[in-house]
């Protein structure tokens, strides 16, 4: 383990409870969602996790941020409280709260320190500037914003307490193409400016190529291939990676 690592996942197995609990079945069968996953990432890098739907990308992300606690293996992190940007900006913002309130909430529940009103206001304005939204939006409800604007707010909420690790779980999949480009640019800017490490989950290999330093290809809960992005695209080893690249039209 080098000093520069921010995240090290070793032999991670994640299980999901089988929801359909039958009255007379003896054992509660669990679904084995991830098999022996090993990842490590260095400070300030962008790691992409790619693969088809149901390959365990989001499961891995949820295990890392601690939503899914049913796992074996170790997840070591240098900093606590990684933040996550969810796939669907339409369901990841509380519809009953205004944007300003949502942005302040991470500060209000901060146990490490108490924020005064002025400090909160100042921080919210800083973040608002980063996510390139006008101040007037603070008084709006999520329903009054477009998908791209909502995703900006989600990114803003994640950034409020300056996390060192940000997990973006298909942050652009629910958006249309022009907005996708804007959100990706925003993420790249933040990465460059603050040196945040980003785990970028996507099924779009073109986007992955643009944004990431390393890439991990997953299928059926297993890691198929891992490597430096440019190298892996030029010289894919696994059959599955080849077929993915072919399907995306990147190699013939």
């Amino acid at each position: 383990m080098s000093d520069r690592d921010v995240l090290k996942v070793a032999d991670l197995n994640v299980y999901y409870k089988n929801r359909k609990r039958k009255l007379f079945s003896k054992k509660n069968k669990k679904i084995h969602a991830l098999h022996d996953v090993n990842v490590s990432m260095e400070e300030g890098e962008v790691l992409a996790i790619a693969g088809e739907s149901g390959s365990g990308k989001s499961t891995l992300a949820r295990a890392i941020v601690g939503i899914n606690k049913d796992y074996t293996g170790t997840i070591w992190q240098k900093y606590d409280r990684p933040q996550m940007v969810f796939q669907d900006p339409y369901s990841s913002l509380n519809p009953a709260k205004k944007i300003g309130w949502l942005l302040e909430e991470p500060l209000r529940v901060d146990k490490t320190r108490t924020w005064t009103k002025e400090e909160m206001r100042k921080r919210v304005l800083e973040i608002l500037d980063e996510i390139e939204l006008p101040v007037s939006y603070l008084d709006r409800y999520p329903a009054q914003l477009s998908g791209g604007q909502r995703q900006r707010v989600c990114i803003g909420i994640a950034l409020m307490r300056s996390p060192k690790l940000l997990i973006a779980d298909e942050p652009v999949s629910a958006l249309d193409v022009t907005i996708q480009a804007q959100i990706l640019e925003l993420l790249e800017n933040l990465h460059r400016k603050h040196g945040i490490s980003i785990i970028f989950i996507s099924h779009d290999l073109r986007v992955v190529y643009k944004i990431s330093d390393h890439v991990m290809i997953m299928k059926d809960g297993r890691v198929v291939e891992y490597g430096e992005t440019k190298e892996l695209y030029r010289n894919p080893k696994a059959e599955y990676t080849k077929s993915l690249l072919k399907a995306a039209g990147i190699v013939k």
Binding site: Q83, S92, N94, E105
Partner: protein, 274 residues
């Protein structure tokens, strides 16, 4: 503030239910509030010269069998009825929301046990349940209020639990949890505001049921005690004079109907709020 006012204006314009509800409820409330400070006659003052009179300028709603002014008694009685209804809903909705939110959010054993208790409470009609509680703790309007309140807890708990179950797996709840929001704060600050629409309309419906249940229980004689009377009590006193002096039974009944109607419209209006 002005923003809220324009929103209210727009909703009133587009939504006849809200307007009708506001007018009817407003009139009833006005009558009740005026009744606190002033009534045309003392509600308990008897006048043997004017027993069972019909509508006149001296007595707007006529007089009862003891010569008491019905309008004055209605003004006083609607206060008791409203008080009991508000108290009932406050207890029912308050306790019900807390139980429903906690069981829905945490699930597991707590949920199973609480829901079976709620099921058991549900098995009794609310009037019967209230009757049992009143017969244990004695008659009087405070006992009535508490017993009706307890009888109203299950329906609120059910509604809130269902809504919390719907909300608790939403992304925004997980998002908030990642930021370090505690369970308690999650339930009452993040989730409950999202179910206020459902809660508001069930409070309105619950309010109507409370008015009717109070009337029913007072009719059975376990509510407010003479010489003061709630609207339901007046109805039960009036029934033997139904044919000799119909105004005696009609006016208190009409006020109950208006009260229920007003709140029903208000509830409908709120649920259609845009």
């Amino acid at each position: 503030m002005s923003k809220a006012r324009t929103e209210l204006k727009r909703n009133i314009k587009e939504n006849p239910y809200l307007l009708a509800g506001l007018i009817i409820t407003g009139l009833i409330l006005l009558m009740t509030i005026v009744g606190i400070f002033w009534t045309p006659y003392e509600p308990t003052a008897m006048n043997s010269a004017e027993k069972l009179k019909g509508v006149s300028f001296r007595h707007l709603m006529g007089t009862d069998n003891m010569g008491r002014d019905i309008f004055s008694r209605v003004m006083y009685g609607s206060r008791i009825t409203l008080l009991i209804a508000i108290g009932t809903v406050a207890i029912g909705a308050g306790v019900g929301t807390i139980i429903g939110a906690l069981t829905g959010y945490f699930g597991g054993m707590l949920d199973e046990v609480m829901m079976r208790i709620i099921d058991a409470l549900f098995a009794f009609p609310s009037i019967l349940l209230a009757l049992v509680i009143v017969s244990v703790f004695g008659t009087g309007w405070i006992q009535l209020l508490i017993s009706l309140g307890i009888a109203f807890v299950p329906s609120f708990a059910r509604i809130v639990r269902g809504e919390v179950l719907r909300c608790k797996n939403m992304d925004y709840v997980e998002n908030a949890r990642l930021q370090g929001v505690s369970d308690f704060r999650m339930i009452f600050v993040h989730i409950v505001p999202n179910i206020k629409g459902v809660l508001a309309s069930s409070i309105m419906i619950g309010f109507n049921n409370a008015v009717l249940a109070e009337a029913g229980l007072s009719y059975l004689g376990v509510g407010s005690q003479p010489p003061y009377a709630s609207l339901g009590k007046m109805l039960s006193d009036a029934q033997q004079y139904m044919f000799t002096m119909p105004t005696y039974v009609l006016f208190p009944g009409a006020i109950i109907v208006l009260m229920v109607l007003g709140f029903a419209f208000l509830g409908e209006g709120i649920s259609r709020w845009k």
